[in-house]
Amino acid sequence: MARKDRMSGNEAVSYAIRQINPDVMPAFPITPSTEIPQMVSTYIANGQMDTEFIPVESEHSSMSATIGAEAAGARSLTATSSAGLALMWEELLLAASNRMPCALALVNRTLSGPLNINCDHSDGMGARDTGWIQIYAENNQEAYDNFIQAYPIAEDPRVHLPIMICQDGFITSHAVENIELLEDKEVKEFVGEYHPEEFLLNPGKPIAVGPYAVSNYVMEARRNQLEALERSKEVILEVADKFRQLSGRGFGLFEEYKTEDADYIMVIIGSAAGTAKEAVDQLREKGKKVGVLKLRVFRPFPAEEIANAIRHAKAVAIMDRTESYNTHGGPLGSEIEAGLYRAKATVMAVNYIYGLGGRDFTVDHAASVFAELESAVENETEVKQYQYIGLRE
């Protein structure tokens, strides 16, 4: 039986972690994810879970210890934000290439500088090519739901890759909202026990983790890793289906909100998707055919699926909550545009950068984006294909 409650995004993820009761959690605090290790260690101190919590001296160490524990055969996780994720960079690649199905609760916050504690996706997007699965949430409910699906995806023998469950710093992590929680027993059954096929603390079947590979092996190892990430797509969909049967909630790779007959579609990630959906409903009342595609899974990137979901539109807005410094678009913009090209789709696409360092994104902003697309198409005018929202010039 689902239980209705209200809690912040950080509370929701901590609650999910308690219900999963993983084996090991090394962590180092950083705003705005600090509450997660804080709440989990409170659960442990109160005897509500028996995870081994390791306070470490840095995020480099928290990810190293997570990998070490996972390699030993323990279900492991950590949590971080911003500079903490950046400090894990080397280990993120090790976790993925050593095929460690550990989890990371990422509470998205911008990277310095200027120094700022608020939300954008520069941390998660900066780690987009480390080989991790990345799933993003619109609200506290999705952060909770996604976390419960994390291990069944990561630990599937077809996948065996680490998974990052992301939510927007402060905007959802510190916002108290309504939520529906599953019973502990339901979560435990859904996630199951972890029985790794191969692990270090297995004297009967010794293995090496992270050895040197000569040039003759590296390409094959990398290719194996890529194929696992490709296979994760079907596993993510299977797990989402199973979760929907249990909870009645959830989406696969993305949510399509009124996109089917839409002339203008906004593609967006995270908490701003809800704001965009509100704009869609207001514009629909005025007869505008608009919709939102909210991307849930960024890695593996569903390029073909997105292209097919938006190619019928007259124009699409691709919304990036980070700058990529490639000088021709944000990460989402560049990847979707490449995907459209390969799918031989010719839909007009405009890439907008918004919400950096916590800059607010409002219903009016979303409506003005739709208005700009419509005006460009109706009047056959040129639009700057890569631009910023709400920027003071």
């Binding site: 504690i117 402060f170 916002a175 108290v176 309504n178 701003a272 409002t362």
Partner: protein, 202 residues
């Protein structure tokens, strides 16, 4: 309640404006409403101006932006009136509540020409009388409930006893004082509200 309600809180870091917003979300949830309570942080230090927000609705809440046209503004620290335009976007048929010993007539000139409902509440005096210390968030929370009409005042008092028991599990000695601060506030603001329609009423 029937109408959706949007509230903006102005305070200074450490005064409990964020806590008041989260407690309001908490207590409004008990009525079956959809709620949102969230802070907006500037520099992380005691005394810096902070803003917190509430959305309370009968429908699920999807918008994740700040609130620019609030129905109600709660000013926890009156010194902010000099530096922050607290009535920015405040609806003409909305209301503003200011924590101050001054009268409405004395503070209205500081409100950038706002002509809607203005209420003052001396949260310092109430808090010191009830608790022996200055914690403005309980009086301000009660004032927000009274002015908005987001829930029945009796239900509010009942729910808050439970919330405080949970919140102050480690210092139960402050529960009675905080409960007293709530009822003193409801009594203090009642005359100003008599004959007025609560903000949530259709």
């Amino acid at each position: 309640m029937s109408k959706d309600l949007e509230i903006r809180w102005h305070g200074r870091g450490g005064q409990g404006a964020k806590t008041a917003a989260l407690l309001l979300a908490d207590v409004a949830f008990s009525t079956g409403a959809h709620v949102q309570g969230f802070p907006e942080y500037g520099p992380e230090r005691m005394g810096a101006p902070i803003t917190a927000y509430n959305r309370i609705s009968r429908k699920p809440i999807r918008v994740h932006s700040n609130i620019y046209d609030p129905d109600l503004v709660m000013v926890v620290d009156e010194t902010l009136l000099e530096s922050v335009n607290v009535t920015a976007g405040l609806k003409p048929d909305g209301a503003i509540v200011i924590n101050t010993p001054k009268s409405v007539e004395e503070v209205r000139p500081l409100l950038q020409g706002y002509e809607g409902n203005v209420y003052t509440i001396d949260a310092r005096k109430i808090s010191v009388d009830a608790l022996g210390k200055y914690f403005p968030n309980s009086p301000m929370l009660a004032a927000a409930v009274a002015v908005s009409g987001v829930m029945d005042q009796k239900d509010f008092i009942e729910q808050m006893r439970g919330s405080y028991k949970h919140k102050f599990a480690k210092k139960p000695e402050v529960i009675d004082g905080n409960m007293r601060a709530l009822t003193l506030t409801l009594d203090a603001i009642a005359p100003a509200l008599s004959g007025k329609k609560p903000l949530c009423a259709e």
